[in-house]
């Protein structure tokens, strides 16, 4: 029986992990993800799970140990944020290249500097080319649901890639929301046992070769194929999860898009605020809509372009700065997808919410006002900052 509860996002993810009972969890604390290994090590101490918790001396070692554990045939998880993920960088690439379906609970936080503990997406967006599947959450419920679905996606035989379960630091990780929890047995049944085809312990096998030019490119190509396969698996697992819980998941969510003239594309918790702005403007009779991207890697570009085919202007909302002087990562992907789909409309890319900068409903209303202005008058000012003192 599903159970209603009130949990923070970190509690919700830790709760999902308790229900999953993974084999190994190496982790190192960093704000705002610290609570996840804290809650989890208490589960270990109280015998609620029989996971091997490895309190490593750094995030680099957390991901290194995770790679060792997963290669040995153990279902493995870690958690981190910001600088912790930056310190794992090299290892993120090795986890995906070695085709290891481990999970990382990422609580998004700004990269230093200045040092800042609050939310933006610079950590995971920086790792967007590391070969991981990335799922993002708007709410605590979504963070929990994504965690429950993580291993079904990552361990699928056509995929076998690591997965990053992202949620927004403090905004969802620490704020308490109502949440529906699945029954323990239901989670166990849904996730299933991990039976890797090969492992260091079960077989005699070797992991992590040196590969010269005559093999490297084929390895990369094969890895890309696996990431491509993840797309269908994410959808299928999200649908199956929906049948079980009534909460269906896909690659992205369309909100009031059927007849939208202008729309925004956004990721994470700010989508909730933006939906309020959409509701207000709809009441005023404005045909505005929103696309919330859940899966950023692999990127469902064709489908997003299709969903945007009727809009006259689109606002692309990036919670990170790419330092390329033209667009953020989400802006780049959507613009390219629209171009490939031979779809032309006004496109303005906003950078917002860096280092935990508050995003208010009024801010998003201003975005829509600017988009309407661009429809009417056109604009060359396609890369803007929202809510910044200039």
């Amino acid at each position: 029986m599903a159970k209603r509860d009130r949990l923070s996002g970190n509690e919700a993810v830790a709760e999902a992990l308790r229900q999953i009972n993974p084999d190994v969890m190496p982790a190192f604390p960093i704000t705002p993800s610290t609570e996840i290994p804290q809650y989890f090590s208490k589960y270990c101490a109280d015998g609620k799970v029989d996971t091997e918790f490895i309190p490593v001396e750094s995030e680099h070692s957390a991901m290194s140990a995770a790679i060792g554990a997963e290669s040995a045939g153990a279902r493995t998880v870690s958690a981190t944020s910001s600088a912790g993920m930056a310190y794992m960088w090299e290892e993120l690439y090795l986890a995906s290249a070695n085709r290891l379906p481990l999970a990382l609970a990422l609580v998004n936080r700004a990269l230093s500097g200045p040092i800042n503990i609050n939310c933006d997406h610079s950590d995971s967006m920086g790792a967007r080319d590391a070969g991981w599947i990335q799922l993002y959450a708007e709410t605590n419920q979504e963070a929990y649901d994504n965690m429950v679905q993580a291993y079904r996606i990552a361990e699928h035989k056509d995929v076998r890639l690591p997965i990053m379960i992202c949620q927004d630091g403090f905004i969802t990780s620490h704020a308490v929301q109502n949440i529906m929890l699945m029954d323990d047995a239901e989670v166990k049944g849904f996730v299933g046992e991990y039976e890797p085809e090969h492992s260091l312990l079960k077989d005699t096998m070797a992991v992590g070769p040196y590969s010269v030019s005559n093999y490297y490119m084929e390895a990369r190509r094969a890895q890309m194929e696996a990431l491509r396969n993840a797309k269908a698996v994410v959808k299928a697992v999200g649908e199956e999860f929906g049948e079980l819980t009534g909460r269906k998941y896909g690659w992205f969510e369309e909100y009031c898009m059927e007849d939208a003239e202008v729309a925004i594309v956004i990721i994470g918790s700010a989508a909730g605020t933006a939906k309020d702005a959409v509701d207000r403007l709809r009441k005023e009779g404005k045909k505005v809509g929103l696309i919330k991207v859940r899966m950023f890697r692999p990127f469902p570009g064709t489908e997003i372009a299709e969903a945007l085919k009727n809009v006259k202007a689109v606002g692309l909302m990036d919670r990170t700065e790419s330092f390329n002087d033209c667009c953020g990562p989400l802006g780049a992907e959507v613009t390219a997808a629209l171009f490939r789909a031979k779809k032309q409309c006004e496109m303005i890319n906003w950078v917002y919410g860096l280092g935990g900068r508050d995003v208010r409903v009024e801010d998003i209303e201003k975005v829509f006002a600017d988009l309407y202005d661009a429809v009417e008058n056109g604009t060359n000012d396609t890369y803007r900052y929202l809510g910044v003192r200039e």
């Binding site: 490593v56 290194s64 554990a69 290669s71 260091l200 312990l201 992590g208 093999y215």
Partner: protein, 313 residues
């Protein structure tokens, strides 16, 4: 059981021939002989930091190990094996791994001095402090040989390396060598051993076996000469190792549960020149006017030897 050289040497090779390490490489000799410490029927997961050993023994699609093997990156061999050992503990606890069918499984990881003393030091320290049931073996050839003989913190004082080249303003590496075995012993782990190649290999074989079968973390530091980096005549490797011991440059010792044990004390401690002069990397020390450098080297060897004797008494 008494040490039986013939028996130990007749154990099957676990590092198969056909790998691409240099002829006469000390690293390979270290690996082959450490793995002879494994009992028949037992299985190992072998780890490896990036370095000569890794790129030469697991070049896709060929692998030279008879056991399972994992290379991850340069600086994380300790943490990677900690994860493998963690998986083993978890899977056994959950009844997903039946050791009875497979014999004991042991965890042995190898790193050069670059991956161990320097870039992998934190990862090693963490793995040792957490006391994972594993052996970390450093094959110490005293420089970053894989990238072309750059100095490391294991490089002896005054060695001519490609980042401490001898010149009009330089006598080679200015600093002393880091004493890693002592540092790891200070982690208070069950077993630390320092060894190298002796004529009957008894010291290395017995230490390897102890390290592998001591529950908890164990560390072995093995002086493993590199003919290219040290610039000696390749067949002289055994003589160089002997002189390393007889000059007290590389003493043989163990630290078992905090107790320091000296395994060999030379009857006549030889002057350090005897070890230095065999090696091209110290050639400049024998130029006229540089006698004071050899004196300084000797002083350092003496100081450390005295220190070790004090610890072992």
């Amino acid at each position: 059981m008494a040490y039986n050289f013939k028996e130990v040497m007749s154990r099957p090779e676990r590092l198969a021939p056909g790998h691409r390490m240099c002829a006469g490489c000390g690293g390979t000799i270290a690996v082959r002989n450490v793995l002879r410490g494994l009992h028949e029927g037992d299985k190992a997961v072998i780890g490896n930091a990036t370095g000569c050993l890794e790129v030469s023994t697991f070049t896709y699609p060929y692998v030279a190990y008879e056991d399972s093997y994992i290379h991850n990156a340069f600086e994380n061999a300790g943490a990677t094996m900690a994860g493998v050992e963690g998986a083993y503990n978890a899977l056994r606890r959950k009844g997903k791994y039946n050791e009875k069918e497979k014999g004991q499984t042991k965890f042995i990881t190898f790193g050069g001095d670059g991956g161990t003393y320097d870039i992998g030091f934190q990862s090693l320290s963490g793995a040792m402090e957490r006391n994972h049931d594993m052996v970390y073996v450093c094959y110490d050839n005293g420089a970053y040989m894989n990238t072309g003989i750059q100095r490391s913190s294991a490089t002896p004082m005054f060695a001519d390396t490609t980042t401490t080249p001898v010149g009009t303003e330089s006598n080679g590496k200015p600093q002393n060598r880091k004493d890693l075995a002592t540092i790891i012993a200070a982690h208070d782990i069950p077993y630390v051993g320092q060894t190298t190649f002796t004529t009957n290999f008894k010291d290395l074989h017995t230490k390897a076996e102890k390290a592998i079968y001591t529950p908890g973390a164990a560390f072995l530091n093995i002086m493993a000469p590199c003919p290219r980096g040290w610039r000696y005549n390749t067949p002289d490797i055994m003589e160089i190792c002997r002189l390393g011991i007889e000059t007290c440059y590389w003493p043989l010792f163990e630290v078992i549960d905090g107790k320091w044990i000296l395994n060999y004390e030379p009857k006549n401690k030889l002057p350090i020149e005897d070890w230095l002069k065999k090696q091209g990397r110290f050639k400049h020390l024998f130029q006229k006017g540089n006698e004071y450098l050899i004196e300084a080297f000797q002083k350092e060897v003496d100081r450390r030897w005295e220190d070790l004797l004090n610890k072992c008494n």
